[in-house]
Amino acid sequence: MLKAIIFILSTVVLFLLFNQLHKKYPYPFLLPILTTTIVIIAALLLFHIPFSDYMEGGKYIQHLLGPAVVGLAYPLYNQRKLIMKFKYTILSGIFIAMISGLISVYVILKLFKLDDSYILTALPKSLTTPIAMQVSETIGGIPPLTAVFVMIAGFTGALFGSMIYKLGKVHSPISRGISMGSASHGVGITKLKEYGEEDLSIGSLSMGLSAVIGAIVCPIFVFIFF
């Protein structure tokens, strides 16, 4: 019991510290999800603490993830007017991103002859982390590995997105927002700030909508192809 309390407190304190650090220096590699996780993993390895011991405390923190995901309905509800403004473009764009992402991951990994369990783990990579991990669990993937892939998808968008828009001559804020939000979620859309407010708000709307749509489309895709 004491151990559990120590794990809970140290995780919360580390997170709050790294959250403050990221607010002061908002670089993507200082995101609290990276810094906090790396420090906790290093500590567990250093003190030879098994993950199952850590989760005796960690499970209480993780428990709040359920209602927190439910709470995502609030920002989506707030953006309902924006959805109606460009409903065909936004909805079809999100579907295009979803389907092209699922098929490209499936085809490439089949070519590499990778195990089905790894393919299932990689499929939800474009969704926002909490939802991606839960989708991964329901379709039989490995949730913590999915979280790593989600981060890679996010950083790919954040670091190379503007290059792609330049090469592809993409000038529309709506298209940039949809593609970044539905391919690279929260990490990617931080880069959209440089383009403007419209990019950013369409980006965060697309991120939320694509997470909800992905949570339904991913299991259907798995049902058909596996």
């Binding site: 927190a68 439910v70 709470g71 065909y88 991951v105 490439i108 909490p130 590995l145 790919t156």
Partner: protein
């Protein structure tokens, strides 16, 4: 007072979450319970069955700390050292290529769709204007 309000509102969010859990339990569908709860809450807000004031502060509080809640499960990669094997690297390269492809493909296609939607809107507004002017001068 504010803290009590936040706790009560989190309890409301928990109710939606457990309705989602119950739904998944009885239908046996492979859907995440929390997303079912999300859709249900969005629906209730849209239909005005639940006032946005009943969840605003609770949702705001949980969303501000969202990252904290999924750090413990991510630490679980400690049990998957294969991430650093050849397979792990192939997986990461695939994610990278797929993401670049999706961004390019989606942004180009949605630019085309956007132009169509704008034209459609202009046409519609144009027609409405015609109808209005007909109404004014029959």
């Amino acid at each position: 007072m504010r803290i009590i309000r936040i706790i009560a509102q989190i309890a409301i969010l928990y109710i939606f979450y457990y309705v989602g859990v119950f739904f998944v339990e009885i239908t046996k569908l492979p859907l995440p319970a929390s997303v079912i709860g999300l859709i249900l809450l969005a629906l209730c807000l849209q239909m005005k069955w639940v006032k946005v004031e009943y969840i605003r502060e609770g949702a705001g509080f949980l969303l501000a700390f969202m990252t904290l809640f999924f750090i413990p499960p991510i630490v679980g990669i400690i049990d998957y050292p294969e991430l650093l094997s050849l397979e792990g690297i192939l997986l990461m390269v695939t994610i990278f290529i797929s993401t670049l492809f999706v961004i390019l493909f989606t942004s180009k296609l949605s630019e085309k769709i956007e132009q169509k939607e704008l034209k459609l809107k202009e046409k519609k507004e144009g027609e409405e204007r015609v109808v209005e002017s007909n109404h004014l001068h029959p």
